[in-house]
C-alpha cells in the first residue's frame, strides 16, 4: 500500500509538471528586444584562461599547495559563473534562431540553422560541464572541463554576428 501511495503522489506530481511545462511553452513567444536585454556579457578569453590546463599547471608549480587549492577553487567558481552566463545566452540565441529560421530569405534561414545547432551545443555542454566543475571543487587536481566549450561558444558568437547582418538580432552580439 505504501508503494501504491508513493506512485499515486508521483503520478500527480508528474501531471502537475507536464501541465506547468506546457503552460510555459505557451508563454514562450517573446519580444526580440526583451530577449536581447536579458543577454549577459561573456569574456571568452578570460573563460579560456580559467579552464586552461597549462595555466593550472603553472599555478601548481609556482604556488604553495594551500594557496593553489584556494585559487583553483576561486577559478572553478568563476568558470561556473561564465558557463552559466554562456548557457543563458545560448538559451536566448536558440529562440532568436528559431524566429530567424522562419525568414523567407534562405541565407537568413541557413545562418539561423547553424546558430540554432551551436547554441544547442553550448547549452548541452553546459549541462555536462557545470556538474563536472562542481566535482572539480571536491577534487582540485582533476581536469574536468572539455576545451571545446570555449570554441563552441566563440563559434556561436560569430554566428550571431553573421546573422545580425541579415536579421534583426537587436544588439545581441554587443552583449556577447
Amino acid at each position: 500500500m505504501i508503494l501504491a501511495s508513493v506512485i499515486v503522489v508521483l503520478a500527480f506530481l508528474a501531471l502537475f509538471l507536464i501541465l506547468h511545462v506546457v503552460k510555459g511553452h505557451h508563454a514562450t513567444g517573446r519580444d526580440l528586444d526583451q530577449l536581447a536585454s536579458r543577454l549577459q556579457a561573456v569574456d571568452v578569453d578570460a573563460f579560456r584562461n580559467l579552464i586552461d590546463e597549462r595555466e593550472e599547471e603553472y599555478l601548481r608549480e609556482h604556488l604553495p599547495q594551500r594557496e593553489f587549492r584556494g585559487i583553483q577553487r576561486e577559478r572553478k567558481l568563476a568558470a561556473i559563473e561564465y558557463i552559466r552566463c554562456a548557457s543563458a545566452n545560448a538559451a536566448i540565441l536558440i529562440r532568436l534562431a528559431e524566429a530567424a529560421r522562419e525568414d523567407p530569405d534562405s541565407a537568413v534561414a541557413q545562418a539561423a540553422e547553424k546558430l540554432f545547432d551551436n547554441a544547442l551545443r553550448v547549452r548541452l555542454y553546459s549541462f555536462r560541464v557545470v556538474p563536472r566543475l562542481y566535482a572539480g571543487l571536491l577534487f582540485p587536481g582533476a581536469s574536468l572541463v572539455p576545451a571545446d566549450l570555449a570554441d563552441t561558444y566563440d563559434t556561436v558568437t560569430r554566428q550571431v554576428v553573421m546573422l545580425g547582418l541579415q536579421y534583426p538580432t537587436r544588439g545581441m552580439s554587443a552583449a556577447l
Binding site: 499515486v8 508521483l10 558568437t157 534583426p168
Partner: protein
Amino acid sequence: MLFLRYYLWLVPHVLLGIVVIVSLRKRLYQTLPAFFAFAVFQLVQFLVLFTVTKFVTPSSIHIYVWLLTCGALIGVLLQLAVLYELVRTVILSRTSLQRVLRLLFAFALAILVLASAATSGSLRDVGRERIMNGFETLDFSNNLVLAGMLVVILLFSRALNISWRSRATGVALGFGTSACIGLAAAAVRSGLGESAFVGVDVMQMAAFHVSVVIWIVYLFLPDRTPAFAGSGLAKSEIQFWEQELQRMTGQ
C-alpha cells in the same frame, strides 16, 4: 453509475472518431503518422471490444480479456512510436546533434523500463487470473514509461529552450494526462484490490475522455510555434554589426 460508465466508454471514442476525421482533413497523418495510427487503432479496438461484449458470457469472459490485453500490447507499441515521433518532430529534426540526443533519450527510456519492471513486480496482483494480472502489469508499465518519457522530453526541451508547435504540445498534453492518471489508477487498483475496480476504471476512462478533448481542442487550433515580436534592423545597427564582425574575425 452504469450510465456514467457507458458514457465514459462511448463518448471519448465518438470524439476520437472526430479526431480521426479532422486529422484526415488536415492531413495530420503526414506530420504525426504514429499519432494518427494510434487514434485509428483505438477506434478499431473499441469497435471490436464493444461488439464482443454483446456476445460474451461469464464463461467466455477470457476472450474479452485476451482481446483487451493484445490490444493493450499493440497500443503500447503505438504509444512508444508516438513518443519517438514527438522527440523527432520537436527536437531531433531540428538539429544535427541527433546522435547524442537520441542516445540521451534511449538512456532515459531504458531507465524508465527498468523502473517499471522493478515497481510492477513489487505491486500486488489485482486478481486471481494470470491474464488479468498480465494486463494490469502491462497497463501500469506502459503508463509509467509514457508519463516518465513525456516529463523527460518536456523538461529537456524546456531546459534547451526549444519551442513546440501547438499540435505536438496537444498530443503530449493529452498523452501526459491520460498516462499520469492511468498510472495513479493502476497503483490504487493494486493497493485496494478488486473492490476498487469500478472506481478506478471510471477514473481511467475519465482521464482518456479529457485526453481526447485536449486533442480535439489542439486539432482545431492553428498549428504554430510561439510568435516573436520585434522591429527590423536599422541602418545604424547594420553599421554596428559590420564593425562587430570585423572585431570578432580580427579583420
